[in-house]
Amino acid sequence: MTKRAFLKTLAFMTGLFFVLEFFLPDKVGGRFDSYEVHAPAPVQTSSGTHLFYAGSYADRLPALGGLTRTAPSAPWLPLSENPLLQRSPLVPEDLTGMQHLAGLPAKGWIELFYIGTSAGQNTTLCHASGSTDGLQWYRKPPPRFLPPSPPLQRAGQTHLRPNGPLPGNMEGFAVDYSNDQWTFLLLLRITGKGLSVWQATGRELTALQLAETPLCPPESIPADVTAFDGARAGSGWTLFFVALNQLTTVTIDSHGTLTQSTPRQLVATGERVTAFRTAHDGFYISSARDRHPTPPREFSPRDTQLLLLPTTEHASPVMIHHPGPRPTPTYLSRGILTAGTFLQIIVATALLIPVINLSLFHGKKIARLTPGWSMSGIFFICLIGMFLITLAGKGTGTTQGQSELWTQTYSFLFKSIIQPMGTAVFSMIAFYMVSAAYRSFRVRSLESILLMASACIVMIGQMPLGELQASVLPDSTYYLGLPWLSQKLLTVINACAYRGVLIGLTIGGISIAIRIWLGLDNSVYSGLEGKPR
């Protein structure tokens, strides 16, 4: 075997390990709800009680699961081995989370609502309809809330909030359907004001009128609420707030008078109720406990469960469901950790080579006293001095066992040479850019006009001066404001143009990676015969 063939094989085998790790699954086996179960939603139908819940295979991979029982004494059986509803790339609202499920039968369907979390961590109240046997599910558009008095909307803002312009961020909700009318109670967190409960009603889910004032003001809501539900009580409401593991009930009568109960402990101390729903046979809750003492790293760090709690005080909860069987990691996914450490050591050693080369270059200059040797001398003194001082004194100020003198010296050199001069060298380009702008930004063609106009708009539009220019414009001509223009230039024009470049670059990068891996790129293997070319 020639040297070249040996090296190519070595590169191929190393690359193969990492490529296989990418294509083969990290873990095998397991159920769709093997990581976590939470957010139970009981629904009473003619065929029995269904209990829907959100499960996940890994953190942030939500799916809808279901259990059913025909009689109160019968055991809970899974509706299906597979998830009833899975995340879909076409529906961005619930890609990374499903929380606080609530279901109810209406017009021959099961209507299910939940708070979905998008990839960008935005929360949306989502809606899905299912057949009464709980097996067929369809996604519906999110319910839309209308504000009491619509504020002026700028075009392009609406799509960011599928639920309409709500006054705050939704952290919980309750839903009721009676007399052909939908009623939603929304637990909203308003920045600077805290949590409050708002009522919204309507016949259509696309037009739910939000009340002008909150049903329950922030003062009556306990701190650190993790779950919320509400139920009709006569002509008023009973609101349930769960903070960690304490349940507080707030009753609101038809005149709007609030009565708060004393808190009641729901689950053992150390556990946290993550979702809460009330039904005729008790409270359905999901709780989480941090796994103790140390879980194997491939498992969920939390222990989660679905529980049914009788409404009577001092009764202990009944277990309904635990996460399903867990997946097992493959040898490859365990081996990648060792391979990573190996690679880190090999790559780190390589960093010594350029320094040795640089030192050899300057060392020769000093030894031969060639012109400029004094500068090489400065380089050497600084190199060796900083090297020793960093070894002796690097720390962040909290370091124990290091000499104060070395730490101070290290700090001195860093703050007096590296930091100020680094910034100064970086900032010097500003002078050259001014000169370049003056000399070469000339209006000669359409392209140069575009370049110049875009540069000016971006520079001023992102600055306080741009905001000042926009503030003198009337609200209806916001699109003439430089901040708006610069934002559109950056987030639409620049984004799409650079995306084109990026796609090209990446395809090129991938093809180069494949060429190197398969040994098709010979430039890497040149100079093997002892004569570097």
């Binding site: 090999i346 390589a350 392209e447 084109g500 090209g504 991938i510 093997l528 004569k531």
Partner: protein, 275 residues
């Protein structure tokens, strides 16, 4: 102007400047002393600021012309940065990742024999030895051996780059498929004009990406009728994008300059208030 007058002017300017700096320094030190800061701290802090200020001025002196003052500080910066970098590689990578675990493994082996835990440390001898092969770079005869760690790095790098690039680009390609008329799924309950505005924005986006891709597409001749128009459009998009790049670049450099000017005026000369 005769040479003598010129020298006289330079000396006078020097005297005025020194007096100005000395009076500023006297004011600052006096202020610090009155705040009962120990003399050693004052010396440390003022020394740091003076060295920093001289370095900054040395760098800016390059704008007039290249000079030894600039060069000396440039080499000092280069030396310090390299020295710090190499110390950190040795301390945080080679010691922490390789030598200390090996040492720990040997200690464990002496106490409990060859357990799995001891092996975890001892196995790191292998990458340590492979890493040492890099030093064959300095031998002409055995140069090829230094290629062994290099191809391992390249092979692994290719595998990792493949994963990195692939993971990053797929959402970019799928994200370009934007709805040109956002329906109920995308904008529930939105008005006609809102939909039209977003639809137009998406249209501009999709056209931009495609035309820029066509601009960089060299398989078909540039003069081909189907390529000429979109490629010209792609060029306009690129010009707008490059203008934004220029604007942003200038702002970045400017931030650094503003901070430097503030450092000189506030911390060094004590003329303006600190932020």
């Amino acid at each position: 102007m005769t040479l003598r007058t010129k020298h006289l002017l330079i000396v006078m300017a020097g005297v005025i400047l020194t007096a100005f700096l000395a009076q500023g320094e006297y004011r600052i030190v006096n202020h610090m002393l009155s705040a009962s800061i120990p003399a050693s701290t004052i010396l440390y802090q003022r020394g740091m600021i003076w060295l920093g200020a001289l370095g900054t001025l040395a760098v800016y002196s390059f704008l007039i012309r290249e000079n030894p003052f600039y060069k000396a500080f440039e080499y000092a910066l280069l030396g310090c940065a390299t020295g710090m970098g190499i110390a950190i590689v040795i301390q945080d990578a080679l010691m922490a990742k390789c030598l200390i675990p090996i040492q720990h493994g040997i200690t464990l082996m002496r106490h409990d024999g060859l357990t799995m835990e001891a092996l975890d440390g001892l196995i790191l001898v292998i990458p340590g030895l492979i890493g040492l092969l890099w030093f064959f770079q300095f031998s002409k005869r055995w140069f090829w051996i230094s290629r062994i760690p290099m191809v391992i790095g390249l092979g692994a790098g290719a595998g990792l780059a493949f994963k990195d690039l692939f993971n990053r680009i797929v959402p970019q390609i799928t994200g370009t498929a934007k709805p040109l008329w956002p329906g109920e799924t995308f904008m529930a309950g939105a008005s006609f004009w809102d939909r039209a505005a977003i639809g137009f924005e998406n249209f501009v986006f999709v056209v931009g990406t495609l035309s820029v891709l066509i601009y960089f597409f060299f398989t078909v001749r540039r003069k081909h009728l189907l390529v000429r128009g979109p490629a010209a459009l792609g060029r306009w998009y690129l010009m707008l994008s490059l203008g934004a790049f220029f604007g942003n670049t200038f702002m970045s450099r400017l931030s650094a300059l503003i901070e430097r000017v503030h450092f000189l005026c506030s911390q060094w000369l004590g003329l303006s208030k600190p932020w």
